[in-house]
Amino acid sequence: MEAIIALAIGILTACGVWLLLRPRTFQVVIGLSLLSYAVNLFIFSTGRLRVDQPPIVGDAAVNAAQLADPVPQSLVLTAIVIGFATTALLLVVMIAVRGTTGTDHVDGQENEP
């Protein structure tokens, strides 16, 4: 479980960073999305990874150490919403740049060949 999550976070981050360094705005926005998935998974995993445990605590006495911490899960919800909103905002800016400069290069001009 830990290995799979760690690998997933690592691969997402690596792909995200690589795409982020590309010159096209589309690649950059996909890179940022991948990075945000990696970050969200990372926050989620800091609340401990537990399988086969009840999600809701009943009346019976439970060992709290066996359960996942709910706070990172709520943090992740906030982070998802904020990341979603700012990515939407970024898309608007990208369309504006495409409209005003006529290119989808992040610097607003093509590199000299």
Partner: protein, 539 residues
């Protein structure tokens, strides 16, 4: 129920409500929109100064030890989110209020008609700034960071044009990456500390096991990267000059305090994460800050456009503040705070001045397009843009003399020459740095390097600004004398006069800053106020 108990939440609630209220009125009903924005900003200023008084010893019976707390939703700390007003928060709120008032009034003259939703966005920016200064919770700090960033993305685009949209794209991407760094840092800290409340962090930081300490320190370092991006520290600041130079004048002035949020957060982090064994940032912060100062100095020399030059002075001032924090001695903090207040007002005034001098040119540049209906009016279908009435309003006499005098004042402020507060702050910084090796055992190399770079930055700034001033005021033959209206000139004079007042009241102000520094250095009172009387910071 005493309404005064709700004081700490008002600087967040007022701009939120005001911004939402302005949205209910159409763009054409400018008088109402401006009225709401002005009332809201004035209220925030008044509240900030009230809190400034309440945090001093003048009202010791109101808040215990001068630190006010407000539990949002009534959940006690550390389980709920708290707002905390201590001296540093109150100081930043007051500074923000002064600058915001100047920005709102300045933009009435022209800029709020250059695009849509200017006033609501500015209120939301104030909401984010006030919230960031008030919150006592690390994740809540992230939320307020994002609010202020979302507002600043839109404000940077305000006025339109290719240069602004390009700068905004870089600004958004860099800050999104910064937000991810912030989240990773917060998650790592939470995983070992089990809390996000800053006072609780201060309690648990000292009691960490060695294995956990490595993770916590790494988390704090990643968090620091996010703050340093915001503060404009080298090598994370290449977005800053472009963005600030491209922004419209009042927006750039409002951004002058946005970089200081990063510095504020670094100071807060330093306050709650002190370990007796290691210096804060392990010396890296100091080296980065020196590099920032050198980068700012070189940028000032190289810049050819006045607004770009001022953007580099913002970098220089951020570097100076970080260097003062990174030297790792509490004695540097009080002069640094003095410098912070002076430099924010100076850069705010300077950006406004640069916007006005742009109009002296007979050939408009890319950032100073005369009023062109910007396509957002159609895109947002809010009707026709309000008619430009550039010739209406009371003009001030002797516009050139006014601009010249204010230019000189701004130069004196940013380079640190007497009699303005820049000089007092710089002198206090130099004095504290020279004393530091003897009194608190800082390496003399570091202290003297800081002194040299500080003085060098002032000298280079003076050379570059004198050159820019000569080019601007003396050597141009085909310039217009701009018609300056009272509403745009008065805020500039207000900021300069406010800094003169700070200079005149340097004694009491410095005493307040020293108390602030003492509070930051030993967060015991902060912890007691937030968590209750029984808790103590572990040694």
């Amino acid at each position: 129920m005493n309404w005064l108990n709700h004081l700490p939440v008002l600087p967040i609630a007022i701009p939120l409500l005001a911004g939402a209220l302005i949205l209910l009125f159409q763009e054409q009903r400018r008088a109402i929109r401006i009225g709401i924005a002005l009332v809201s900003t004035l209220l925030q200023l008044a509240l900030a100064f009230a809190m400034l008084v309440l945090t001093t010893d003048a009202a010791p019976h109101f808040w215990s030890e001068g630190i006010g707390t407000y539990a949002i939703g009534g959940w006690p700390a550390p389980f709920g989110i708290v707002l905390v007003v201590d001296r540093l928060s109150a100081l930043m709120l007051a500074l923000n209020g002064v600058l915001a008032l100047a920005v709102v009034v300045h933009s009435i003259a022209r800029w709020d008609r250059e695009g849509v939703y200017y006033h609501p966005l500015l209120q939301f920016l104030l909401l984010g700034l006030n919230g960031a200064f008030l919150t006592g919770d690390l994740f809540n700090l992230f939320v307020f960071f994002e609010i202020l960033l979302a507002a600043s993305y839109a404000l940077l685009l305000h006025g339109g044009g290719a240069q602004r949209t390009k700068a905004a794209l870089h600004f958004v991407i860099v800050n999104l990456v910064g937000a991810f760094a912030f989240l990773i840092g917060v998650a790592m800290l939470y995983s070992v500390l089990g809390t996000l409340n800053m006072a609780d962090i201060a309690v648990r930081w000292g009691a960490l096991a060695d294995a956990d300490r490595t993770v916590a320190a790494t988390g704090a370092a990643i968090l620091g990267v996010a703050f340093l991006i915001k503060a404009g520290s080298w090598p994370l600041n290449f977005w800053l000059p472009g963005a600030y130079a491209a922004a419209s004048a009042p927006v750039a002035a409002a951004f002058a305090i946005a970089t200081k949020v990063g510095v504020y957060a670094v100071l807060r982090l330093w306050s709650v994460m002190q370990t007796p064994a290691a210096s804060f940032g392990e010396g890296w912060l100091f080296l980065l800050a020196l590099a920032t100062m050198l980068f700012g100095t070189l940028g000032i020399l190289a810049a050819r456009q006045l607004s770009r030059l001022i953007a580099f002075t913002v970098v220089l001032s951020s570097g100076t503040l970080l260097a003062a924090a990174g030297l790792g001695t509490p004695t540097m903090i009080a002069p640094a705070l003095f410098y912070l207040v002076g430099s924010v007002m100076a850069s705010g005034a300077f950006f406004m001045l640069a916007g006005m001098t742009e109009r002296m040119r007979t050939t408009p540049t890319a950032t100073s397009d005369p009023l062109q209906p910007w396509p957002t009016y159609n895109a947002f279908s809010v009707g026709e843009p309000p008619a430009p009435d550039a010739e209406v309003g009371i003009a001030i006499p002797a516009a050139m003399a006014f601009l010249g005098i204010n230019f000189i004042c701004c130069v004196l402020l940013v380079t640190g020459l007497p009699p303005l507060p820049g000089f007092i702050a710089k002198m206090a910084l130099v004095a504290a740095a020279i004393d530091a090796p003897a009194s608190v055992g800082v390496s003399p190399w570091r202290a003297w390097t800081l002194v040299i770079v500080l003085l060098l930055g002032g000298l280079v700034g003076l050379i570059a600004l004198a050159r820019a001033g000569m080019r601007l005021f003396w050597s141009v033959t085909d310039r217009n004398t701009p018609r300056l209206r009272v509403v745009e000139a008065a805020p500039l004079a207000f900021l300069i006069l406010a800094s003169l007042a700070l200079s005149a009241a340097a004694g009491p102000a410095m005493a307040y800053f020293q108390d602030t520094a003492a509070d930051l250095n030993s967060p015991d009172a902060y912890v007691r106020a937030v968590l209750g009387t029984q808790t103590q910071v572990n040694p």
